[in-house]
């Protein structure tokens, strides 16, 4: 059985066609999310499904009936909308606003009362604001206000509930609260839900299916894991993103990455020997100054790998929890050989990465400038019983080795050598 069927839907405003052929089905048990960039037609979809704007081409079927054959009241008895934030012009009470949900069921000469009243009370208690009934809408907090709008939609006793960015203005607590309520209504009361989101994580977490819209059409639809992929996100939002799985509840979450465009303006290659998060800042400075930057050897799990990724610095990578292999060493030495300068950051040195220091010592005469960053006492980060410290101290007497404390010092040392 299909509750909502949208086929080849085209519509828009005036001359401007917004929806350019949308197709999807919604079954009664579905909890489906609609995502997509601003202006892709998400809200227009809601307006078309609810018959607020006329359909140009195609058709929307609700329970097998064309919505173009239904009048406003008939539709409002089956489909309810929770809008983002509707401004109410006058200080109505919460109950008066929720009573408006009964409007489609009342005849012109009919008043509230009887079953209508109990439905309104029921709706208020379902969203947990029964004690707010007599309060003016003016004094409500954002969360209370939005729950009132949910209650108004519930008072319509709909089969299908549309949420048009209904939680966008809410803090994370209220956002989860509203979504949990929707989840309950979906599973317990068989309410079909179509929810428009800007928050991809929220969509991924609560929706069984996701429609990814782009430029008035559906770019992808299906399970969150099929729709929320880096490729789809790049194509639709123009953003690089990683999609991770939250091990706690197996839901997906999206981590956007803003990659810097590398504009190498200087003809100077600087190799950074770093680790343990000590290289991020200096690599960023160097990249910003326009140096060609490489890094190595880094463990794949090293926190400096994030900076490398972010800054698009070419790294030499070694597998986690293993000492540096021959291949990695060779690659690293070659990078140092081609580099004009080598920067060594104050990273903790142990048995696994002491080779990084040894390689610098080996190559010290091959490069124009070596900059040792020595912010902390070397012994404090030396886990090689003084072996690493002696190498580093030995290097300090070389004419082309300078020792600096801060990242700015690195830049000054390089510029002194006209690098």
């Amino acid at each position: 059985m299909v509750r909502l069927k949208v086929s080849d839907l085209e519509t828009g405003y005036g001359e401007n066609k917004v929806l350019k052929g949308v197709n999807f089905d919604l079954r009664p048990e579905d909890f489906t999310g609609v995502i997509g960039p601003n202006g892709c037609g998400k809200s227009t979809l809601v307006r078309a499904i609810t018959g607020v704007i006329p359909i140009w081409k195609g058709e929307v079927w609700l329970d097998g009936k064309k919505i173009s054959d239904m009048n406003r009241k008939e539709l409002a008895c089956k489909v309810a909308v929770v809008p983002q934030r509707a401004h109410v012009s006058f200080p109505f009470t919460v109950r008066e606003i929720v009573e408006m949900g009964r409007n489609p069921f009342l005849g012109r000469f009919e008043g509230m009362g009887g079953s209508h009243d109990s439905i309104v009370e029921d709706a208020l208690s379902k969203v947990g604001i029964e004690e707010l009934g007599d309060r003016s809408v003016r004094g409500l907090s954002g969360g209370e206000y939005q729950r009132m709008l949910v209650a108004r939609a519930l008072a319509q006793e709909p089969e299908l509930m549309l949420l048009d960015e209904a939680t966008s203005h809410l803090d994370i607590g209220h956002r989860i609260e509203v979504m949990e309520l929707m989840k309950r209504l979906n599973s317990k009361e068989g309410l079909s839900i179509l929810t428009i989101h800007h928050d991809l994580d929220l969509a991924a977490r609560y929706c069984g299916n996701i429609l990814l819209m782009d430029d008035g059409g559906l770019h992808a639809k299906g399970k969150p894991s099929d729709v929320l992929t880096p490729n789809h996100l790049r194509a639709v939002y123009g953003v690089e993103a990683e999609v991770h799985r939250n091990p706690r509840d197996d839901s997906l979450y999206v981590v956007p990455i803003t990659r810097k465009e590398i504009k190498t303006t200087k003809d100077t290659h600087v190799h950074v020997v770093c680790g343990g998060g000590t290289g991020g800042k200096v690599m960023k400075k160097l990249v910003e100054e326009g140096y060609e930057v490489t890094a190595g050897v880094l463990n794949a799990m090293d926190s400096d790998m994030e900076s490398v990724d972010f800054l698009n610095v070419r790294p030499v990578v070694e597998a986690p929890f293993s000492s540096i292999s021959k291949e990695a060493k060779k690659e690293n030495m070659e990078l140092m050989k081609s580099a004009e300068a080598v920067v060594v950051t104050p990273f903790p040195i142990g048995k696994g990465n002491v080779d990084n220091i040894k390689m610098v010592e080996e190559m010290v005469d091959e490069v124009k400038q070596v900059v040792l960053m020595d912010g902390d006492d070397i012994h404090a980060r030396d886990y090689t019983d003084g072996y690493a410290s002696s190498i580093l101290n030995g290097m300090k007497i070389k004419y082309n080795v300078s020792t600096v404390k801060e990242e700015e010092g690195v830049l000054r040392a390089l510029s002194r050598q006209n690098l």
Partner: protein
Amino acid sequence: MKAPFREHKKGFLLLLLSILTFVTLVSLSVGSRGVQIPYSKISAIIMSNIPLLDRVFPTYSGTDSVIIMQIRLPRVIFGILSGWALAVSGVTMQGIFRNPMASPYILGVSSGGALGASIGILLGLGLYYIPGLAFTLAIITAVTVFLLGRVNGKTDLPTLLLAGIAIGSFLGAITSYLKFVGRDTLQEIVFWTMGSLHGTIWQHIYIVLPIILFGTIMTSLFTRELNVIQAGEESAAYLGVDVERTKFVLLTLSSLLAAAVVAFTGIIGFVGLIMPHIARILIGPDHRWLVPSSALMGGIFLVSCDTIVRLSGNIPVGIITGLFGAPFFLYLLIKSRGETGW
């Protein structure tokens, strides 16, 4: 200040009814020429003119009877009806536009009416032709503004508002020109634009009463829709309201109500703008109660002002409505600061 009569809506309407009765009796007892008629006699004269009751009460004749039945009673009844209609029109317009500045004249009914009346006065037309011309031009203006406010097959309120202002200024310019060229008739036109209940006869009531009854009853049937629209037009559509039809019906009705009054009284300002606000402060925003409350308050207010008019030697009622209404409204506005809505 929370709307003090919100929990006592029926009581509030009863209170307004009794005030209206009181004000009516006071108004009947005083006149511009200083003729005081005692209340007992007023009641007796009115009773004796009501079919069936006239068999019980003795028939009165003479000056007092003529003053009451032919001069004061029609004027007071017409005052009630005018205040009533303007307030219903104003509350509807404010509800539709969701704008506190909306008045019965927002679609140009007043400027159209003024132009019609000016032409009539300039041409030296008689008692029925001037209101006829004013009414016709008022309606033509409202229809024009309404058509100008159509965007993509919908009534676009901001466009409508601006079209009303533009057309109003245009017609106002023509009226000013007519004032300028017709120096002999200048005073009459100016008086007309200040509004007056002077010279009301029963025939006026026979013409206006059906329009006002029709307008009020029809408006009352759309008060729930008007409430729902306060949550925004789009939300109202989601709640099953045919927003475009509601706007069309209510704009038509309230312009009709305003035009019917304007045609006979000229431009009485303030009643339609302020009575709905005061009613809202007192009884809350629910239009199902707001419309009748505003209507009764409009009647009370206009009859009271007209009583002062007659005691003060027939200065135009529009001056009195502003002079007494504005301070009272300001008082309520300050007392209820921040609670009026908008």
